[in-house]
Symmetry: C2
């Protein structure tokens, strides 16, 4: 495996910045070039030495082996075709949280083969280059979508890139990816946003009460700190799947509500026991 | 402040066990006596040296300065009057998550003054004496309810006990306590239980998909591991408040649902921004 690649990261935020840190640190990248429409993000990334150089997109693509597109998913629909238009033999990957509409929009691009659709499944509730941290992805999974549409060498190089970050790889088609992420990621965010709003509305005049909140509350609303700039485009693109899961989640909550109204605590107990089986599945 | 008290813990689980560890470690207790209807819990607590001795309730109360009742909240309604019947000048406290119906049931007990209603606001999703850990409560808040109904010396001694654990103290009446805990603790648990069930039902045949779940999912469903033996009695006793908050939470989720249906992503964005203000309130 050749090491010492030149890698361009388009979109210098939590994900792009964190990947840049690891790829430089583990030696897979000899040089990281940063591209961002916000020159302030470029400056911060340079100052923190997360990138070696900031460049305009066209120049960056020309000198790179890999281009990682790590913008919000709405911007990807414009950035990815633009990058592919500039691509010769480079490998282009995105790291977006939704895939079906994006891949549909790129289906007929003449350079589709150079593009690998990936989703490294890690993150935090923070955003921006300030939030970039080392080892965010270590031992986590990357999903590669519709792998058959990528050139074999582009796919292999992408797998090498993620292997250098000690990530596992799973393959899913784009449709399955979007359904599953609705369940294991997107609904968690809506639930947290809603919980934060519910509690904030009630406790508006009593800020002191939050001092009493235990770590359990913090855990369930942690994701409510997440950026709307990242999440609204995800909800827009994965709207239908998110709606399905949200309906089911509201139904489950309504079931608990109905049991409380009927004071059917035996069934309530049994449902909690069922929910407890999440223990077997969560690693920690 | 006199140190070296004899303290009985009735109910050897996460909370009682964790308090016993800290009170012994910081020297406030010279001796910890354990009382549990489950002799297996007593044996484990003895083996881990969390308690110095296991005793029947009557004998334990007779030789103690403090009796901490740390059973599930339904058992408290039987245990607390029984302990108070045996009480002379000892201080009796409970650590339960609901207070209004409990205090109502003790209102006319002739030893009511020896009893202090407290709620140390900390915990984990684990339960049983195996889950007891040191420093669970350090720098957290304890709520003392209806303090005026306790004897002045019992109150002062209880505050000294929590101060030895480096806890802050807040005072609330029982009704306000139960409303606030519904918002900042109980609804988080229902939300997690429901989210776990929603996802488990969908993903029943595809266990592998959970390997992809990122830490955000883990964070929102962490509380779904919580024990029904602890939580069903809480939901039973705080049913009316929990129902109010659950209704509001379902309404908030339905509002997100309606915005998705209408594709009103501008309002969706604004609601996420509002939810983001939870940042200012959460410490971490």
């Amino acid at each position: 495996m050749k090491k010492g690649h030149t890698i361009t990261v388009v979109g210098l935020g939590l994900i792009g910045g964190s990947m840049a840190i690891d790829l430089k640190e583990n030696g897979f990248a000899a040089k990281i070039i940063g591209v961002d429409t916000n020159s302030d993000s470029e400056d911060k990334a340079l100052r923190r030495r997360i990138i070696d150089e900031a460049m305009p997109l066209e120049k960056a693509v020309a000198v790179s082996d890999f281009i990682i597109v790590a913008t919000p998913v709405d911007a990807m629909k414009k950035v990815l075709p633009a990058v592919l238009d500039l691509t010769d033999e480079q490998v282009v990957l995105d790291v977006g949280s939704t895939k079906e509409t994006l891949l549909e929009s790129l289906r007929n691009h003449k350079k589709r083969g150079r593009y690998v659709a990936t989703h490294p499944m890690a993150g935090t509730e923070f955003s921006g280059i300030e939030a970039a941290v080392p080892n965010l992805f270590t031992h986590k999974y990357t999903v590669i979508c519709d792998a058959a549409d990528s050139d074999a060498d582009a796919l292999e190089k992408t797998e090498n890139l993620y292997a250098s970050m000690q990530m596992h790889i799973a393959r899913l088609n784009a449709k399955a990816h979007d359904v599953h992420t609705a369940y294991i990621s997107h609904i968690s965010h809506i639930s947290s946003f809603a919980l934060a709003l519910t509690v904030l509305e009630k406790e508006a005049d009593e800020e002191k009460i939050f001092e009493l909140a235990s770590s359990g509350f913090g855990s369930t609303v942690r994701l409510a700190k997440s950026s709307p700039d990242m999440w609204v485009p995800i909800f827009r693109q994965n709207r239908d799947n998110v709606l399905d899961v949200l309906d089911e989640h509201i139904n489950t909550l309504s079931r608990f509500r109905s049991l409380l109204i009927k004071k059917d605590f035996d069934t309530f107990y049994r449902l909690i026991e069922e929910a407890n089986s999440i223990k077997k599945i969560l690693k920690s």
